[in-house]
Amino acid sequence: MATQGIEQPHVQRPRGKTSSSGRKPADAGPLTAYLFMAPYLAIFIIFIAIPVVFGIWVSLHNWDPMLPVKPWVGLQNYVDLFTPGSTTFGPFWKSMGATGKFTLYSVPLLVLIPLLIALVLNQEFRGRNFFRATFFAPYVLGVAVVGILWRFLLDPNVGLVNYYLGALGLPDNIPWITALPWAWISLVGVTVWWTLGFNTVIYLAGLQDIDPALYDAAKVDGANRWQRFVNVTLPGLRPVLLFVITVTILASANMFGQSYLITQGAPGEETTTAIWYIAETGLRFFKMGSAAAMSYVLALALALVSLANFALFRYRGD
């Protein structure tokens, strides 16, 4: 799950006095700000900025770090990605398609289901904390645990899921992880089960941040439950929703472990995702130039999706 790099949503806080003693910020020398930023800046430059720039350099070569000769190929790695018939064109766009499909199927579910759960868990009832913990619990598991667990549960011939379906008199030969569309249903289902806790917690925090006075006012105006949800809850959750959607899209677009472990990319290479293909090209076949070029194409695509996402929310709001 790649959730790093995204800032927490701005939760509104009362803006009052800032610091009460000491020098005013204006008195600080121009260096102060940089000093405060220095630790993060150093990490950012070493682990993000330099690799990003270096990656462009790598993508312009046939780059294998272990070989003494790394021939310069200019934009060939990029050209190959857009030339039908090259060795990378087919598998790369197929894997991009797989990532796109997974994102398309999983994001709506991962945005809606946690919202519903959060609304329920925000009510006052006995055992609320127990359920909050239960829904969050799968999220603490690592992808390896989740993957191997579900690979065995969903096995078409020896898995528990089909066994219980059969015991209930339902079809017991569903190829959960070896045929379409079942493989996608399984991957999306497992991912929703696994990660919905995270989004639920974010929603819960957002819900608790909505001023109860707004609900009271709406009630006084005669708004029913649905109207209160549409006119108070949803606008109140807007920044949280933007965060959840952005993070979920990026996390879904980075999907790798689930299909690697549960479906092994099968049938054929239908569930081989972009991150998987890039990792395989770069780290297993050691064609790092080509893999770097693919990374930039993927990153660009994700940047565009995120921009569209932000634009959409801004347009609606203001």
């Binding site: 011939n157 030969n173 190829p175 099968a266 049938p267 050691f286």
Partner: protein, 440 residues
């Protein structure tokens, strides 16, 4: 201590220190390292600690660890510490760590990985080990010995061979009225047995669409039908030849005829075998170690049945390699050779971990012959085959043939069409690899 250093040792040590400095400066003179030591006969340098990596993460690791401990207790000046990493991670990690000078001093690699790692400068040539120890082709199974050579140099000392064999579940065979002590060995017998199992409602051979074990089954069958994966110069894929199509068609027919369920997932055939849901499994000999721990499972191992026109079986082999570590101390290289020689001679202990020793004298020893299933599988050695020793050959398989077999066995594509398409991709990948490794 207190012993005076002899002149010879002093010279050796200063040479070592000098070489170390030079190596650290220039990133490694491979030839100097390759010549270090006396080829593995003995070690009389200063005390060194060796880091030995391999991918024996299962019970086989315990056998290797015991050997390592025994060696360390005998050789006072060589201390070996063993580290296991999952094979897939291993092949990604080792090159990077070796290049940074922090990786292992020696390790194990599959014979199919030797050319790639030799070409990428990860491992050192070991011709002197073979010469000094007087290891000859005639000491080893020839197929293993030849496959360890790349560009005229030897890069691996073979430890074992681990072919695919026929595992048969005696309980299931009995239930279907088959003789549990005579596993089918010909095509006719095999098909008859599958038919009989089917009549009793048992799907006898679960056909996996994945590399383990479907891909290994295909590679065995293509040899049986008289074909090869690639042409002699390894410039073109030939797995879409008639032999290849026959091989894959047979696999697909096993599914179509109902001898196998459709949609077999990864390892499902293995689970089914343990539970007696199928009768036959084509799998690697190393599995005996785990199958022996399964309660109530009565099984046997035989040579693969002959489905095609001749015998043939996929196999791989673990080889000792010495890392071309940056800034490496020649003493460590010399000590590594001693270690390799020592283990190689005791490979019968290793055979107990579900392996066939590569050394003839070990395979012919009474101790080996008294093992239960290993000697049976050892009989496959005359006809096992490896993929050609060409760098990057594994990538070609993964990028072309692997998905083709998968789609065919899952009944998504016709065998011939799947193989033709894959061969087309493979030809391009072979060409790219050739350019890549020639430029180096």
């Amino acid at each position: 201590m207190g012993r005076r250093v002899t002149r010879q040792e002093f010279l050796l040590m200063s040479a070592g220190a000098g070489a170390g400095v030079v190596l650290a400066g220039c990133g490694g003179s491979t030839t100097d390292l390759e010549k270090a030591g006396s080829g593995g006969k003995s070690y009389n340098g200063p005390k060194v600690s060796l880091s030995f990596w391999n991918g024996f993460t299962a019970a086989d690791g315990d056998y290797m660890r015991r050997l390592v401990e025994e060696f360390s207790s005998q050789e006072k000046n060589i201390d070996v510490s063993m580290n296991t990493v999952d094979w897939e991670v291993y092949y990604q990690k080792v090159p990077a760590t070796v290049q940074s000078g922090k990786g292992p001093d020696l390790g194990i690699m599959h014979i199919t990985q030797l050319p790639t790692n030799a070409a990428r400068g990860v491992i050192l040539a070991m011709d002197d080990v073979a010469n000094e120890l007087n290891l000859k082709k005639s000491d080893f199974a020839p197929v293993v010995w030849d496959a360890g050579v790349y560009n005229g140099k030897r890069y691996g000392i073979p430890l074992d061979v681990h072919p695919l064999g026929l595992f048969y579940n005696k309980g299931t065979m009995e239930k279907a009225g088959l003789d549990p002590n005579s596993p089918p060995q010909t095509k006719d017998d095999y098909m008859a047995a599958l038919e009989q199992l089917k009549s009793k409602g048992i799907q006898g051979h679960w056909m996996s669409p994945f590399l383990f074990t479907g891909g290994l089954t295909f590679q065995s069958l293509i040899y049986q039908f008289g074909g090869e994966l690639y042409n002699e110069n390894v410039t073109k894929a030939t797995f879409n030849s008639e032999a290849g199509v026959n091989a894959l068609t047979w696999m697909v027919d096993v599914v179509k005829e109902g001898y196998s369920p459709k949609d077999v997932a990864q390892d499902a055939e293995y689970t089914a075998f343990q539970n007696g849901k199928n009768a036959f499994m084509w799998n690697g000999i190393w599995n005996i170690l785990e199958l022996d721990t399964v309660k109530g499972l009565d099984y046997g191992v035989a040579q693969l049945p002959q489905i095609g026109s001749q015998k043939g079986a996929w196999a791989d082999s673990h080889n000792f390699v010495i890392m071309n570590k940056r800034g490496q101390d020649p003493n460590k290289v010399a000590a590594s050779k001693v270690f390799i020689n020592w283990i190689s001679k005791r490979s019968v202990e290793w055979a107990k971990a579900g392996q066939v020793p590569a050394r003839d004298e070990v395979r012919e020893s009474q101790e080996f012959k008294s093992l239960k299933w290993q000697p049976v599988i050892a009989k496959e050695l005359p006809y096992v085959q490896f993929p050609p020793p060409v760098p990057g050959i594994g990538d070609v398989y993964t990028g072309s043939l692997e998905p083709a077999i998968n789609e065919a066995v899952l009944l998504k594509k016709e065998p011939e069409a799947a193989l033709d398409e894959a061969a087309n991709t493979a030809d391009q990948l072979l060409k790219e690899n050739k350019q890549k490794y020639q430029a180096a």
